[in-house]
Symmetry: C2
Subunit: 253 residues, 2 copies
DNA sequence: ACTTGACCCTGACGCGACGTCAGACTGCAG
DNA sequence: CTGCAGTCTGACGTCGCGTCAGGGTCAAGT
């Protein structure tokens, strides 16, 4: 019965350095269950167990303090962790797959003598935040028909498409800000026209029904990241847009 | 013709901060082609191109100075980079896949009430160096019959098997060190007996012919990592073992 | 012409996650 | 009882930036 392990043993088992284990104890991430009379750390099986979890999340890029809170969360049963880990991994797999695709695409392009523009190359790595959004979005809506439509359409987007869409969106949002600033009622025809333009813009990605548009509008208030996006443009814009969307949908009911 | 970009533009395009670009210039990793009269950085298309490469290798965990040497290598045509990137990516994909497998395995185990030992859990993350070896090994020998045999056999290894094999290897290498230290001629029967034991040990993983054993022995000298492994045990051991292996193979020719 | 606000510059310090000594103690093998 | 490998606790170093501070620049609006 191998009951406990020394730092060195744990280190070699886990493929980390002794210093790392010292560090993990200092920040109270992994405190060995016991000590010998001479002060030697004694790691128990449960400690190794925890360490494996730590290393897992670490490999996925989590900061150590977040790992702490994750693992010390009292209402997180092991199965919960496993499920989370599984989804995290599949997300990473998709990201990697995207990188593979990008590289193969560039290989093809190079072989046929075409040179991609730097913007095109950067698109893969560039949209890191949108990329994270995409991961989560897929977890939420990955099985919806709209999602499939969106990925299908965006796959055919050229660089010019992206630039155009970005410009259109910016311009539209600018007019919304102006409308809000000059006190336009979200229920007014001017506002609902803007909302309808918004819905049309989404049509670039997938067919957005009025009902779905309502849901989106609600989410702009419910999800703080969307809220922040709009509130950063103008305070009250998230609410205003949501109301305009609903008014527009009412009109078309 | 959008000829040059400001830091901010590059930053948003690439999804990094301005500070990062400043940093990359400080360490001479990415120096913008030009500056305006006022001292503003002006990034050209080639700079963006280089940045995308940088971000690629960075995402795969390369330290920045290594990226420098990689990208500044004069005899590395773009196609070379693309090939390297592709292989790196597929390697990572396999690693991730292994993690996925491990997690699913643990999920299964948990559902059936069996609890894996911490050692088993750590094996996935623990062997990080061996893991990297494995990646490269697969790139080198991934299509050989021996590789298939090896993965097939190791897949059936239990924890006890690993411990036993490790112990056996350590013990054998200890006797080799002793033989070398006491001046045993690598061509002597004592040395060839050790070499034969070494070959038998490899038999744990795959059937190792004398010819293949020769190749392995040569590689211990050719590949610096293997060399280091043996030289760390005793200076001259790599050469000694290689000679003993060849002498043993000669004997059985 | 003037202001304003967004963007840019150069230091310089801070931080997370360890690496890497130094100096001293411990445990076990021969 | 003498090595020598393993362990201990500070403490400083490193890498890849984040985050101010203090000051110049640029395009737009008035």
């Amino acid at each position: 019965m191998n009951r406990s392990y020394t730092v060195g043993q744990v280190a070699t088992l886990a493929g980390v350095t002794v210093r790392t284990l010292h560090h993990y104890e200092q920040i109270a991430l992994l405190v060995p269950g016991d000590r010998t009379a001479a002060g030697y750390r004694q790691y128990a099986a449960a400690d190794l167990d925890r360490l494996s979890q730590i290393l897992f999340y670490r490999e996925l890029g989590f900061p150590l303090d977040e790992i702490s809170t994750l693992l010390d969360d009292p209402d997180a049963d092991p199965a919960e962790h496993l499920r989370r880990q599984h989804t995290l991994l599949t997300a990473r797999l998709q990201r990697l797959q995207a990188m593979v695709d990008a590289v193969t695409k560039e290989m093809k392009a190079q072989m046929s003598g075409i040179n991609l523009t730097p913007e095109e190359k950067l698109e893969i790595f560039g949209d890191h935040l949108p990329e994270e959004y995409a991961e989560e979005a897929q977890q939420r809506w990955g099985d919806s028909a709209e999602w499939a439509q969106s990925t299908e359409r965006t796959a055919r987007f050229t660089k010019e498409d992206w630039i155009r869409i970005k410009a259109e969106t910016d311009e539209l949002e600018g007019r919304m800000v102006a409308a809000l600033a000059s006190g336009v009622d979200p229920a007014s025809t001017e506002a609902t026209a803007l909302a309808e333009e918004h819905r049309a813009g989404i049509g670039n990605f997938y067919d957005c029904s009025f009902h779905m548009h309502r849901c989106l509008g609600d989410m702009y208030l419910a999800d703080e990241r969307f809220t922040k996006y709009y509130e950063d443009k103008a305070t009250g814009l998230a609410q205003w847009l949501r109301d305009a969307i609903h008014a527009n949908a009412d009109q078309h009911a």
